[in-house]
């Protein structure tokens, strides 16, 4: 199938520029535990909801805290998968790696939410929510926000600047709650 071919190519690219090996996996788990503990069940950060990572998702946020965008991949067949989960849907292996990706992507779609919203979001509305398709892994799509700078407001990019297909790059925003979230900057601001 065509889609299998695409995935294989992507995985090959990702492997060449990363430290995808067994030790990475171990490190991730340790760091992730710390990250989860740091969040301490807090849900407030800049007044916005902080992620509450589960066991499978924790490494993503642990790497983000180091300024790295990594994607969970199968250690046996190499297939990337999102959201993270215990085993590979292609080969059923339970061994995984977290491969570093370039942080580049394109906007697949976006919305501009208006109130009624939770108070902290209403204060910034209308803001944008974008879905970014990763250049290195074309069917890995991440929900996020397009912002003017990593720590800028969710409405810091004028809506008329947002378009489907626009190239973007990852940025990292440390929330008040101790977790780091991935945000997106326009490649051509």
């Amino acid at each position: 199938m065509t889609q299998m071919d695409t995935t294989t190519d992507t995985t090959a690219d990702a492997t060449t520029d990363t430290t995808a090996d067994a030790t990475t996996d171990t490190t991730a788990e340790t760091t992730a535990d710390t990250a989860t503990a740091a969040s301490g069940g807090s849900e407030e950060s800049d007044g916005l909801l902080a992620p509450v990572p589960d066991e499978d998702g924790a490494p993503f946020f642990a790497y983000a805290a180091r300024g790295e965008l990594r994607v969970q991949c199968c250690a046996d067949c190499g297939e990337p998968r999102f959201p993270p989960r215990p085993c590979c849907p292609h080969c059923q292996s339970f061994d995984c790696l977290w491969k570093k990706v370039s942080g580049r992507g394109r906007i697949w779609s976006y919305v501009l939410p208006h109130p009624p919203l939770l108070p902290a979001y209403a204060a910034q509305a209308p803001y944008n929510v974008v879905l970014v398709e990763l250049t290195d892994a074309p069917r890995i799509r991440l929900v996020g926000n397009l912002v003017a700078a990593a720590d800028a407001a969710l409405n810091s990019v004028p809506p008329e600047r947002i378009r489907i297909g626009a190239p973007v790059k990852a940025a990292f925003h440390a929330t008040d709650g101790g977790l780091t979230v991935v945000r997106w900057l326009l490649e051509r601001p």
Partner: protein
Amino acid sequence: MGATRTTAGATAGATLKDATAIAGIGQTPFAKRLPESEKTLACRAILAALDDAGIAPSEVDAFASYTMEETDEVEVAKAIGAGDVTFFSKVGYGGGGSCATVAHLAAAVATGQASVGVAWRSRKRGSGPRPWTNTRAQLPTPAQWTRPYGLLRPADEIGLLARRYMHEYGATRDHFFNVALACRNRANQNPAAIMYDRPLTREMYMTARWISEPLCLFDNCLETDGALACVVVSAERARDCRQRPVYVHSAAQGLPAQHHGMVNYWNDDPLTGPSWAAARRLWKTADFGPQDVDVAQIYDAFTPLIPLSLEGYGFCARGEGAAFTEGGALEIGGRLPLNTGGGGLSEAYVHGFNLITEGVRQLRGTGTAQVPGATTCLVTAGEGVPTSALLLRS
């Protein structure tokens, strides 16, 4: 790949097709706010449905509901005076489970596990809090990947898909308006509908406030209090009931490969949602196809779900769902009259159960916006979430 499907058809003899029928329907008034509790409303709707069928409450031995239902079968059975109950089920994924309740009861009755089944929905969404404001309950998987970024409500989640759909296929707001207008026009014919006396114009639609661009106020369903129920019995039994039987011809649930909740952005093709999976099974066990459907009740929590579902259930090809809505196709007299009671957009948003009861009315010939001579009806549950669908025939 397809070679593994050798068991299909091997269950000849145990077919669901027309083995059971919906013999009764019932409902409470619909309103933004009703004074009675959800439990009371549920009992009123169920008793009305049993009365419609002419079946005593003591004969009820099966119950089916779907999640986000706060009244459980223990309370309801006790209150209405049901007999010994030998089958009960609760289907997951909220609005995606509406049609599956009837399917579960039909399967139970057809296989002899029960003889009189009741499915129901009772909600006080109109006067209760909006579910998405419960932040603690929803942040773990998969919400950890969406809600912190402000993708808070179902409208935001579907809006993201809608924007992509518009981009890929040239769908416009006018297409979504066609959907909203068809539902509103039917509600204007239905005295029970919340929007009975509230006509909609294109001007109103185009100048309405945004909820989640590209979706405006009129792209979103109502917030409603109300309850509904229906009674499922064997086809044989139904022929002795008060009303003309409406047969459960085909039924299916749909949870496609690599699907994720309502944020179906992480499979290979987010624009082919659960309706596609349900439809494959639904048509496989039916004696007729999409071209033979006289009237459709398609889950309309948001207008873009209609073009996506029209494609999924095979009324048109991929990418043609928006164009399908043109030229009055969804109106009475059009190619596929839609949501003839007003749907979730304009009759009541009771998690799609009103689509089932309206399907029954159409096949009885008693709809307030009756499609002349309708003998077949498609009813669907929530698209975007794991779903279900029914083909009904008279």
